[in-house]
């Protein structure tokens, strides 16, 4: 089932809608918001210069810092009397980012979330157990109203209280679980204490997961633990919240709702667009948002996009599940390396998450990579040969999976430099 015909429009139709909406958005921000007007002027352009989709590249980028600098409402493009909802991200550093919606934006959000549910096979007969946090975070309410829009029954469970959540899921006959993948796994672990046959007490058939970076391994684990179809949602509050893209039943890639969001992949270093299918930073321009339209938002997320039509009947372009963060990308002897990939390789090799640090340096003309791995209690042994085996195994998996030749060093716990409680993942001594 496809919620809206727009999802299977021809490429020409998609692009002509995009161009029209991009022009409207450019005119709107230029006319009403001094921040954008100034940025356009710095580049010597006006909205009239946008004549084709290629002209998108002439527009300025917007960064998270721009939202912070104009805290709280400086980038809004409608009067506050028109704003009906505010959400905000918890800023771990500096000011939080604040986003606003008018009534029209709420309709857009509900529309794209209705597409997410329909893509996941969810309809009026379903009971959606929504364990995304309700509050300033966009997850809870985004999933809530989308479910209502497709006519499903929503249980607004929000986060926490594992035992009570499981009771509600059983008693209300939840068929759909919406939450972060790690919470889904936690729920399964607790539920399985009732015995290996615990699944028969539940009616779950689908999970719609997102809001955190997720390895392929974790996805498989969650799908297997509950015996359900795994659908992945991507979104960010700066753009709308959950509902920018979602994976269908035919593909692991996520369909981007292209009539509302214009996506580009750029080289994070140079800002230049990359050819279709190549990995780079995802940049999104909103096409229909009114309260907070955003021009060329640098998501910082690394992915690739393909435009070929999908077996599910949709023509909207598909992005890969997020591969890593642009801030963390390292280029080592010409190969792009993301710390998240290194983390997955280590976790897969040893079955536990270990603290690590990647140190890039020069040896002559070549780049040299050293990876420090902290010896945690889980892998500590009294056997020297066993530790050496672990070290070599990690080294071999990095070479086999990521094609990087790294020197793995085992180090003592807590010996990797911390910043704000988190281990510093990358040290680049070449700069």
């Amino acid at each position: 089932m496809i919620w809206n015909q727009a999802e299977s429009a021809s490429r020409e139709e998609i692009e002509s809608t995009q161009l029209k909406r991009l022009q409207e958005t450019a005119r709107r921000v230029y006319a009403v918001n001094p921040f954008y007007k100034e940025k356009f002027e710095e580049l010597g352009i006006t909205p009239e210069d946008i004549r084709s989709l290629e002209d998108l590249q002439r527009l300025p980028f917007t960064r998270k810092q721009d939202l912070r600098n104009h805290y709280p409402f400086g980038l809004f493009c409608v009067p506050m009397s028109e704003v009906v909802r505010i959400h905000s991200s918890s800023g771990t550093t500096g000011k939080p980012t604040v986003v606003g919606y008018n009534a029209h934006d709420m309709e857009v959000w509900n529309e794209v979330m209705a597409r997410v549910y329909t893509m996941s096979g969810v309809g009026p007969q379903d009971v959606v157990h929504n364990a995304y946090g309700y509050g300033l975070f966009t997850g809870g309410l985004g999933f809530h109203y989308g479910a209502e829009k497709v006519g499903a029954t929503v249980v607004p469970a929000s986060g926490g209280f594992t035992d009570r959540q499981l009771m509600l899921m059983r008693d209300f006959g939840a068929t759909v679980l919406a939450c972060t993948p790690s919470f889904a796994l936690h729920l399964a672990e607790v539920a399985s204490k009732a015995g290996s046959e615990f699944r028969k007490d539940y009616k779950l058939k689908v999970g719609i997961f997102g809001a955190e970076p997720t390895s392929e391994g974790l996805k498989k684990e969650v799908a297997k633990a509950w015996g359900i179809d795994y659908h992945e949602v991507y979104g960010l509050s700066e753009i709308i919240g959950p509902g920018v893209s979602c994976s269908c039943r035919q593909s692991d890639r996520l369909h981007i709702f292209e009539d509302h969001f214009l996506a580009e992949i750029i080289d994070p270093e140079t800002g230049e667009p990359l050819p279709e299918g190549e990995r780079g930073e995802l940049v999104i321009t909103t096409l229909t948002k009114q309260a907070l339209p955003i021009i060329r938002y640098r998501t910082g997320d690394i992915t690739s996009i393909v435009k070929e039509p999908c077996g599910c009947g949709r023509t909207h372009a598909r992005m890969e599940s997020i591969v890593g963060r642009a801030d963390d990308m390292l280029i080592v002897n010409g190969v792009n390396v993301y710390p998240s990939q290194v983390e997955h390789v280590i976790a897969n090799a040893e079955g536990v998450t270990l603290n690590y640090q990647i140190i890039a340096d020069k040896k002559g003309h070549l780049d040299k990579l050293e990876i420090m791995v902290e010896v945690s209690e889980e892998i500590m042994t009294d056997n020297l040969g066993e530790l050496e085996r672990i070290r070599k195994e990690i080294q071999a998996s990095l070479l086999n999976n990521l094609y990087i030749n790294a020197d793995v060093k085992l180090v003592e716990p807590e010996s990797i430099e911390r910043s704000m409680g988190k281990a510093v993942r990358v040290v680049d001594k070449r700069r």
Binding site: E377, D382, L387, E412, P413
Partner: protein, 140 residues
């Protein structure tokens, strides 16, 4: 596990002063070290310790950011005379029991030989030794 004693293994990077950090923590806490052995491989090593208060020593070392593993090892009493090591080693070899590593511990008129076998073989190893009259200790 009957008739075994507890050994602490501590992960150490080959850096000046780290060994001293371990002994410092134990000495400050008044925990005597009965035996100590350091084995190395390149950039790192394992420090094996037999102490009087294993659990407390482990907690203190972990609080000092060390990775610590407690494992059971076999301790046997040996006389200070030729052939006593050989007797133990050949008894186990005759039964096909592999010794992963071994070291000694002094104190009193008799010596103590500490050895580690594969975990699954430990019970059998103790049995073999005791049957032949070797004194296996359950505390030192």
């Amino acid at each position: 596990m009957s008739k075994s004693i507890k050994q602490l293994s501590v992960f150490l990077e080959n850096k000046v002063g780290r060994l001293g950090d371990v002994t410092g923590i134990l000495s400050k806490a008044g925990i005597p070290i009965r035996s100590i052995e350091l084995v190395e491989a390149g950039d790192f090593g394992i420090l094996r310790l037999i102490v009087t208060e294993t659990e407390r020593a482990k907690e203190l070392l972990e609080a000092g950011s060390f990775s610590v593993k407690v494992s059971p090892v076999i301790a046997v009493e040996i006389a200070h005379e030729a052939g006593c090591f050989h007797r133990i080693v050949s008894l186990l070899a005759a039964e096909g029991i592999n010794i992963q590593y071994a070291y000694t511990c002094h104190g009193g008129p008799l010596g103590i030989f500490i050895l580690k076998t594969d975990r699954v073989e430990m019970l059998r190893a103790v049995e073999v030794l005791e049957t032949d009259g070797v004194k296996v200790l359950d505390a030192i």
